[in-house]
Symmetry: D2
Subunit: 370 residues, 4 copies
């Protein structure tokens, strides 16, 4: 199928990850792109990547217009542009009848997110949000275990995403860092919206529950920051279970500290993104078991999400690729065999939770409904 990419230019890291992931299984061919804010650079890079000159566009508007008129128009467009442009671009492509995969955060405001949900509904097209970690086979296994009752009633979810890459005070003027703590560019939240959101989404993904209420503490530990670089959230879920979430950008020594632990009445499980091929599961009153990606004892959806034999390290490309594979399967025909991609509703739910958290934090952690 034909795939288009907006954003993800030469300097972007996320663009490379999308290209690898989309093309991993040979389902998607990079057929069109508007890859850079600078039209010239975007076109040049597009042809460098093998896009036909006629489809290496200078702007997403050109791309939208031209692709709309083609017989072999792209079947899916990925939007990997700066956050504040997501809403406009996604809305435009959806309205023109294209399927969309939008980078997170879906939008900058709750209003936009809700609008986009309506636009997507009206269009009848797919609008997916790229919470890529939910493509990891063992995250899928965790969800299947919850769905199948292996953990019983879920009681507590502990989720964290804490790294230390913004800990250096001398980086305050580093442009790579600075914009992240500037409300003009970033919105109401920094680290919670950037990293914490993955931990939030994973909590919803595995438990199949929405967060309904939030009490949040936002702190900035490095002087001069206008947004939080460390946060603690208490959560309530739709089924009555509770959540605890810590996210940080100043946790020196935590390389990519994203992990989740889920506890129910019949068992507990633990998964860590840095070692994604193992899932620890402990049944009530039994010893902990180390479940391995690729094992035949996993649930079918988790098995289907793997491409190589047990014991090999299958990392982020595979996880991310599963999102693209699910999209391909959904667009091509019946429902996905693997991990179910995150939807526009999932993306909008996260925008709402972040907004709620920011409001709660402003009121000293008051419990605030989502």
């Amino acid at each position: 199928m034909n795939w288009g990419l907006v954003g993800g230019g030469k300097a972007s890291q996320i663009g490379g990850a999308h290209r690898i992931a989309a093309q991993l299984d040979g389902h998607w061919r990079l057929a069109a792109g508007a890859l850079d804010i600078d039209p010239e650079k975007g076109r040049a890079y597009g042809t460098e990547l093998g896009i036909d000159e006629s489809r290496a566009y200078g702007t997403w508007q050109d791309m939208l217009k031209s692709e709309s008129g083609r017989e072999d128009r792209i079947d899916l467009v990925t939007i990997a542009t700066p956050n504040h442009t997501h809403f406009e671009i996604a809305s435009a492509f959806l309205s023109a009848g294209f399927n969309v995969l939008c980078e997170k955060p879906l939008t900058m405001t709750v209003r936009d997110a809700e609008d986009l949900v309506r636009v997507a509904e009206k269009s009848g097209k797919i609008c997916a949000t790229n919470f890529g970690y939910s493509g990891y086979p063992m995250a899928i296994q965790a969800r299947e275990m919850v769905r199948n009752g292996d953990l019983g009633d879920i009681r507590v979810v502990f989720s964290e995403f804490a790294h230390g890459f913004h800990a250096d005070e001398s980086d305050n003027d580093n442009p790579r860092i600075r914009w992240r703590y500037d409300p003009e560019q970033t919105g109401v939240s920094s680290i919670t919206a950037d990293c914490g959101v993955h931990a939030l989404h994973m909590a919803e993904f595995i438990t199949c529950q929405r967060i309904t209420e939030v009490s949040a503490q936002f702190d900035h530990c490095v002087d001069g920051r206008a947004l939080e670089d460390d946060a603690l959230l208490a959560l309530r879920f739709g089924n009555g279970s509770v959540g605890r979430l810590w996210t940080s950008a100043i946790a020196i020594g935590q390389v990519h500290g994203f992990g989740i632990r889920v506890f129910g009445s019949k068992g507990g499980l633990s998964w860590h993104q840095e070692f994604p091929n193992q899932l620890h599961f402990t049944p009530l009153n039994g010893p902990t078991r180390i479940l391995e990606r690729g094992s035949e004892a996993l649930y079918p959806k988790a098995r289907a999400a793997s491409r190589i034999a047990i014991g090999h390290a299958e990392g982020m490309f595979g996880a991310f690729g599963n999102i693209y594979r699910s999209l391909h399967e959904t667009i091509a025909g019946p429902g996905p065999a693997t991990g179910d991609f995150p939807t526009v509703e999932d993306g909008a739910a996260m925008v709402r939770v972040i907004d709620t958290a920011a409001r709660s934090a402003k009121q000293g952690g008051a419990w605030t409904p989502v």
Copy 2:
């Protein structure tokens, strides 16, 4: 030196740990005891343990009276009785001029804790609180690193103590579990006062800061419990740093999930009680280093707290023994060479923090000064 024990009878586990720890270095001899609420059993067990018949007492009152009149009176008494009796017994022994090591929690109420501080001050005697984990060599190393500025200014402390041993709903009527969720017997808090307190104390111990403000969420995840079995605390410390703390009794799969991570402007560290001989330290912009108990590169106090060569597993007996060694050194003469034992003020501080947390929790997590 002569050592006495109140409580810690045959069925008690903590009694055995105290006896091993106190006698580890040959500094303390179990010379007197009132070991059981049943006088007969207490006397019998005392003599079984080698206490002279004349000092194997039936009640702590007898012990206090008799020891007070002896030339070779005990130099230290450990109080390992049920929590609600700590205040009365500790006060009585202190007032009679005995040094005291009291099990945690120091007392059931803040008022009692503050009274006990005054009693101890007036007596001129030592009143220590048994936060035994602070005797681990690598906890001492962590504290020394903070004291010596290796971490720079402390920003965030993440501490947790979450286990899963109260997760089984069918245990609700098990007497071993039931009393822990009965406010009559346990007070204002269950898991926070029982386990969380160690994580709280360790945070104060390593950072050398007091907690000044608390926002707490208390939840009971198993139906029918009147006290919390899972809690999340946001903390503020005297030096402006913030804390995050999770404690739980229903985290199936976490055997003894007590660990702490401390992040400053120059580095971060991580320590876990189940693997106490390693401390992970990451300097800003450098790789993580695994520091080992027994290494000559540790600070002197951490080195002095070890009894065996690097690489061996030195566990709880040694940690606990360091409390007794510090007490011996302090009582025998000049200040402790090892880890500084937790004082009555430390114990009282914890009673205050738990009480504050319980009040905050009742108000939906309102920030409450300690």
Copy 3:
């Protein structure tokens, strides 16, 4: 560039891994293939994968003939056929002027391996051997550390590849297992040639030394096997250092137990394939440091071998893809920027070591020069 594949049909796992790896960076396009021993199936699968009908061949002989005559002939052919066919196919393509990437083992006999080295030399073309693990960034970092003297003089290399997937006696008649212990199909060695060889190659790769002498113990622990399912090798390297190697197929619980530890006069390092993004390095008299893939402190070749930011899990596809990237860079122009692909000499060295080991094992472990 145009890429061709011989073998790797629908049922094959290795074929899928090659396709993902080759196309990961967009350097190689699957332009031609003879994918199956059954010509019909091979052609069908080829077109299913998007190969032009004219280049979806029924046999490798057809492919060789037809591609030889094309202007847009393939720039590289990967040979992923059964082991006993490697020599013939690789020789034929090399002789016709094609670059070759051959699956390991390069050949079934030392004589064939040495012939193939000569054929490759004479052809002036590249003949690479697919020891894919050497593409892992942290394996490359380990090699660079040795090259740069960070470990001083290498003294001992401990390498192991032990799994448990042939431990089930009831699998003896399982065709998936049986052929591996049949000397007719497998040659002089089973687990050593299949898995141990990766540990052997990694030892040579990281230390940049050839193995010069071998003492080997071959054992079969499951009754009825004609070849070894567990082996222990003592090794001597060209620079006088020694090696210890354990390989097994009956080590229940070891999922993919491939790891290496290298010890020199100035430091030691440890790497494990299941957690490939970390490398433990210990300088003499210093604490162990955890080096992370993606860190800017790594050597340039190791940095260049990564595609995503530090902290993400980058697994086998990336490692394997680095082999293809090196090949592309070498064929396209000047030498590789990343990890240097394993050559035909490397492949032949391994055939010799395995043959030597088998001969040593027959003589009770007598030291045998390679």
Copy 4:
């Protein structure tokens, strides 16, 4: 019971460990000692440790003579003197009717070891050898699992004890290191006899099998050493299973690298001395399970070997203390409830295996019967 100690003076580390371990449970009282080669120092240290002046001896000969004549003579004597004196002292005490716990190695030669076995038999007294690691609860659990058939028929044992504390070439003249590589003082083997022997004993202990044949490679990696600092052993056991063993003193980064993995027809297990409270067990075709010290699911002997609740770190003092507890139970009455202490036959078996290994190594690793 009364306990005596020969050796283990003020500068000795092992002496302190013995005193802690022996007195851990209150079963043994240090009643007599000849603690130092310097009689004056020995007597002074003895009284410092609380030994009655009349039993703080200057020489072991005085101790033997005087204790022999006492009504309250010691019930057990521990011999922790330099290795070459073990035989003479142990023989003398056994012959005089004392129970003996002798440090490893039991003796310097096979002849002496065999003589000592006979002396012990004739005496009717206990002669134990101090392989202290076999007192770890999870080592005992491993043995019980093998005994109960949980692993099926044992096939391969992989055992290692490799550290890096003799890796520094500049230490060659350090007296602390030098004697260890001097055959005059150390005998036929250095690291194998010093550390490897624990790995060998553990292999016999867990599998309940004797090693019957050895092929050994001894290497010295640091110039100027007359004995091996790195060795690889292939082993055969009485029941036909095979062993692989690596031991090293130059493995920089391995702090106390002692671990064992045992593989049978029904399962595999893995245990590491630095994290002694966990045992990994994998049943055939099932996931790995993490068994915890203190769990009620362990075998009774393993449960009985613990003194504190699950989740606490119980280290070397407890392990070592189990040896003393078993001795106490055996001397006091019926057989041991815990881990069965290592006997004089076990100690002699190890002397034989080391001697066999040294002879094999001299012949290039020729298989040599024990």
